[in-house]
Symmetry: C2
Subunit: 412 residues, 2 copies
């Protein structure tokens, strides 16, 4: 269980790396994402501030080589753009060592939007190509602590969200889904207490920006999200495999939790969890933050009808095209700010078609209406596919994914 000593000595969170408000004017933490002066998030600055690494082309090629599969579109297009120790995961995998995946969701809203699906779509790809087990945490306790909801409502939302997650196609023989209010206890609780003992209040303030007026539930929560990174939190899965490495696919706003976790892990004899981190999925109105479940017009929901999608894209998707057709033919679209192109770069899998659209649209030969038309097609198919898959998820399947059980064939 001895971690590499060099890694153990490198401290990742200090009271000086506070992330709730920073000199560069961006606010990125698990509860708020906003760019400076309503502009775009500067991801390069975020990488520097957080101290993670950029996911470069060589790493992506290594993934293709090791898995004998083409890289996921989210890798090829830089949606998952940053990482911590992902190379170490690949090194270990190349040596024949296994790892497990951990991701999760705070079940705040009944209907998921497309931004919510991204980590799950990507995690499914990782599970498929690496053939490894996966634990998915539903932080119903976090949502109870941060929102004005009852415990029961948070538990109900967790089960509803579990259906959307299962609809992403996870392999039940390799996947354990759990909700905190049901699962916290035993080895999981012991690890929570072990982590909590090793983080001072001042450090927590530095990482999460708590104030004295915040309730102690918020201060108590970070260990709950930390401990799924440790195999011993799942004795029914990983008994005797306490040295297993963990890889966490997530949006980069979750980085603070895992910087804290990575500082503590070596002190408990675990590997630091590795991370692979995504951009935020932009709002329809433009790329100044991440989509918000509270503004229905800022997002496409998995429950939206074909008509909803058509209306939202046509009405609200911010266009980089010019004001008049003449001007557009002359100057072309500004692809940097164009939401239809941005969305297509997430969800249109055909690289050649995407390049064609960007070239023609950028040169003014293709109009905004045509690009939006193609996006509406792509999103309607995606949402329809999800809706059909979700409708097939029964309560019994939810129970089966959430059953505390061994996974006999979780590797390979």
């Amino acid at each position: 269980m001895a971690p590499p000593p060099a890694a153990a000595e490198q401290i990742e969170t200090t009271t000086t790396t506070a992330i709730h408000e920073e000199d560069d004017g961006q606010v990125v933490n698990p509860w708020e994402v906003s760019a400076k002066d309503g502009g775009k998030i500067d991801y390069d600055k975020l990488i520097d501030r957080f101290g993670c690494q950029r996911l470069d082309h060589a790493l992506i090629q290594r993934v293709e080589h090791l898995t004998s599969c083409p890289a996921h579109v989210f890798l090829r297009r830089g949606v998952f753009f940053a990482h911590r120790d992902f190379a170490e995961i690949l090194d270990a995998y190349e040596r024949g060592d296994n790892f497990y995946l951990y991701t999760g969701r705070g079940p705040s809203s009944e209907a998921l939007h497309l931004g919510h699906l991204i980590p799950f779509m990507f995690t499914k790809y990782l599970q498929d190509v690496f053939k490894v087990p996966l634990v998915i945490q539903l932080t119903d306790d976090e949502k109870f602590l941060w929102k004005n909801l009852t415990v029961e409502e948070c538990q109900r939302l967790a089960r509803e969200n579990a259906k959307d997650i299962i609809a992403c196609g996870f392999d039940i023989s390799k996947t354990f889904i759990f909700a905190d209010f049901n699962y916290v206890g035993g080895a999981f609780y012991k690890n929570m207490v072990e982590v909590a003992k090793r983080v001072t209040y001042n450090q927590a303030v530095g990482i999460f920006g708590f104030t004295g007026e915040d309730h102690i539930g918020k201060v108590s929560f970070p260990p709950v999200q930390a401990v799924p990174s440790f195999p011993s939190s799942f004795p029914h899965l990983f008994s005797g495999k306490e040295n297993l490495r963990c890889l966490i696919p997530c949006a980069i706003d979750q980085d603070p939790y895992f910087r804290m976790t990575r500082d503590v892990a070596p002190k408990l004899g675990y590997h630091k969890p590795a991370l692979i981190e995504s951009l935020f999925f932009p709002a329809l109105q433009g790329e100044t933050g991440k989509m918000s479940a509270s503004d229905p017009n800022s997002a496409i929901y998995v429950t939206d009808s074909a008509k909803d999608i058509k209306n939202k894209v046509n009405k609200h998707a911010f266009s980089g095209g010019q004001d008049s057709i003449e001007k557009h033919r002359q100057l072309g679209a500004n692809l940097e700010v164009d939401i239809p192109v941005k969305y297509l770069s997430f969800f249109l899998e055909d690289d050649a078609e995407l390049e064609h659209i960007k070239k023609e649209y950028g040169a003014g030969r293709m109009l905004t209406g045509e690009v939006k038309q193609r996006l509406i097609q792509v999103l309607t198919e995606l949402v329809e596919r999800h809706r059909r898959a979700r409708a097939a998820v029964t309560d019994e399947m939810v129970d089966a994914f959430m059953a505390v059980r061994p996974l006999p064939h979780m590797f390979g």
Copy 2:
């Protein structure tokens, strides 16, 4: 589940009632008990500062009347001297409403001393005369958080301490013993989160005196000790009895936890738990605080031999007698500071004999040696009785007391 509105509106903890350091120079909190300038604890000031009530003669008479039993020596002699809402418990009991008892222990040391036994001896009496169920919490997580011990060592100590507790004679058909590392989860965890959401960090600092350098494990702990006050934390015992009242016998240093609990309880729809609180059992060297398990000569342990007891009492028990026999015959003993008399007032059950000793010793007609001789007898009998009872407690009995099970005959 509606609590009395008057009680619900009365706030018991504020940031201004900090108890870790006070104007009167006494420090009394769950982790430290020390009087001003090495003097005696001023319990009257403590009652004023904490805002609890003195347990008066009329209440004790009511207990005798309601239970048709003589009051326990710890009641008659003022060992349990303060309370919160104990009268309401008696009112409810008189109306035919039941209640349950909750006490506990932080399992820090292998051998208990006499001070540790006091709440359990008294709780056994309460269980016997009121014929009510009892939950006993072993806070192995607290000890892990505050001491330099492993989780496993704290769990082992919890089981060892459970044997001493069982040896006090609790009725297995009415008693559930649990250790936090084993029991936290489910309804208990939900209640922890409900409580944590309703206490701000500033309030916790006001009550417990945490600093920014304290780890967040300490900040997270108070809800763990709070929630056994709520019947819903024990669904296997009190399902459908969520309105049951709770009475907590404890030493007064635990009051901060329950002031916090009493503020939160009405917000969750529960009765405020009632308290009946004891003095600290003094050290052999004199009454300036409570006995310390870390100084072996300050305390009589339940593992001490007859010879140990004799040596400790003769060598270390602080005497209020005079320096010479002549002076003693003339002035008599100072009973206020005399530890042998103090200890006899805890453990010598015969009121007439105690009065006789106090009278004769105080008048100088009895010598310190004679009083110590009688104390050695009383303590040796008590410790021998405990040792025999503890030797009869098997691991199977511990498992039986700690089994999560219904208690079909817990009332009456």
